[in-house]
C-alpha cells in the first residue's frame, strides 16, 4: 500500500491509502517523479473517435490556445 495524493480515489473511498499501481510505482522511482508515457488504449480510443466524426477529425490538429503568461496572474489555480 502506498500514500500518494489522488483526489478521485480519495473522493470515492474516503481514504488516502490505496494499492500501488504500476504507474504510481514507476513515478516514485524516477528522479523528480516525472516522465512521459504513452497511453496506448486512450490513443486507440481517440483514433476510433476521430474516424467516426469528421468534424472532430478536422479540429483535432488545431493547437489549444493559451494566453501569454505576461497578461496572466502568476498564481496557479
Amino acid at each position: 500500500m502506498i500514500k500518494h495524493p489522488d483526489p478521485l480515489f480519495e473522493l470515492h473511498t474516503g481514504s488516502t491509502v490505496r494499492p500501488a499501481d504500476d504507474l504510481v510505482s514507476l513515478k516514485q522511482h524516477l528522479p523528480g517523479g516525472k516522465f512521459r508515457y504513452v497511453d496506448i488504449a486512450s490513443q486507440q480510443s481517440r483514433t476510433q473517435a476521430l474516424s467516426r466524426w469528421p468534424l472532430l477529425a478536422e479540429l483535432a490538429n488545431i493547437p489549444v490556445q493559451m494566453a501569454p503568461k505576461s497578461v496572466q496572474e502568476s498564481d496557479k489555480p
Partner: protein
C-alpha cells in the same frame, strides 16, 4: 476563502443550475457559501425560492448608490445569495441597450474583506462577459462550463485559455457514442485543463428549477445531484491541498 467563477462557454450550458447545486452541496458538507449572480438575466435567485419580481440585488443597489452587499438573502445560516437585482423587466431591456457600457465589477476586489469570510464565494458569470482585469484576477479558479456537444467542442477550439481556467464538462450522456467520444478527445486534447469531475445530463435539473430548488435538494438521488456532490468534494480536496 476561495472564489470560484462559473462561466458558460456559451448560453444554455447549465451554468446557473451548476452554481446552485454546487453551492448547496458545499453547504451540505458544512461549508459556508456566498453566491453572487453577475448575470443580468438574474435567474440564480429562482433556484432558491426568491420571487421573480423581487428587486433586490447588487446592480439595483448600485443604481440606488448603496453598497454592493446591501441586498443579500440568507437562504440558510451560512448560505447567502446576492442576486443581480433590478426594478423590473424594463431595467433588463435598458441593461441590454447599454451593453457597450456594462456595470462595473471593480467592487469584486472587496470580496476578500467580507467578514465573517465565507469558506466559498461562487460567482455566476454571464457567458458574454469577456475576461478582464475587473474580475479575473479576483478568482482562485475559473470553471468554464461546457456541455458535452460538438458546438461546445468547436468553441473550445477557439477559446483562449487563461491560467486559472479549467473546463467543467456538463450534460454528459454516457448512453450516446458521440458524448463518450468527445470526452475521450477532451481528455487527450486538454489534459489538466479538463476537471476530472463531470456532470451527467439529467432532466431532474430542469424540474428542480421549476420547483425553485437546487437539484441536490429536490432530487438528492439523481445523477446530477450525485455528480454535484463529487464536484463539491473535489473542490474541497483541492482547497485543502493548496492551503
Amino acid at each position: 476563502m476561495k472564489i470560484v467563477g462559473f462561466q458558460g462557454i456559451r448560453g444554455g450550458t447549465g451554468t446557473t443550475s451548476m452554481v446552485s447545486m454546487v453551492a448547496d452541496a458545499l453547504y451540505t458538507n458544512g461549508q459556508s457559501v456566498l453566491m453572487i449572480d453577475l448575470s443580468p438575466s438574474d435567474m440564480l435567485k429562482l433556484h432558491f425560492n426568491v420571487p421573480y419580481l423581487d428587486q433586490a440585488g447588487w446592480a439595483y443597489a448600485s443604481a440606488l448608490v448603496e453598497p454592493w452587499h446591501a441586498h443579500a438573502y440568507e437562504i440558510a445560516q451560512g448560505l447567502t445569495l446576492i442576486p443581480y437585482g433590478r426594478k423590473g423587466v424594463e431595467d433588463h431591456y435598458r441593461e441590454l441597450a447599454r451593453s457597450h457600457d456594462p456595470v462595473s465589477l471593480s467592487w469584486l476586489s472587496q470580496l476578500r474583506q467580507v467578514t465573517p469570510a465565507p469558506d466559498w464565494v461562487l460567482l455566476d458569470l454571464p457567458h458574454t462577459l469577456p475576461v478582464s482585469d475587473d474580475w479575473y484576477p479576483v478568482l482562485d479558479l475559473h470553471l468554464l462550463v461546457t456541455s458535452v456537444d460538438v458546438a461546445c467542442h468547436t468553441l473550445l477550439t477557439q477559446y483562449l485559455f487563461q491560467n486559472k481556467t479549467r473546463i467543467l464538462a456538463n450534460m454528459q450522456d454516457p448512453s450516446r457514442l458521440l458524448s463518450n467520444d468527445l470526452i475521450v478527445e477532451w481528455e487527450m486534447r486538454f489534459q489538466d485543463l479538463l476537471t476530472p469531475m463531470m456532470i451527467q445530463r439529467d432532466e431532474s435539473v430542469h424540474e428542480a428549477l421549476a420547483l425553485k430548488t437546487p437539484v441536490t435538494k429536490a432530487f438528492p438521488g439523481s445523477k446530477a445531484s450525485l455528480d454535484a456532490h463529487s464536484l463539491a468534494s473535489w473542490l474541497q480536496i483541492r482547497n485543502r491541498r493548496s492551503s
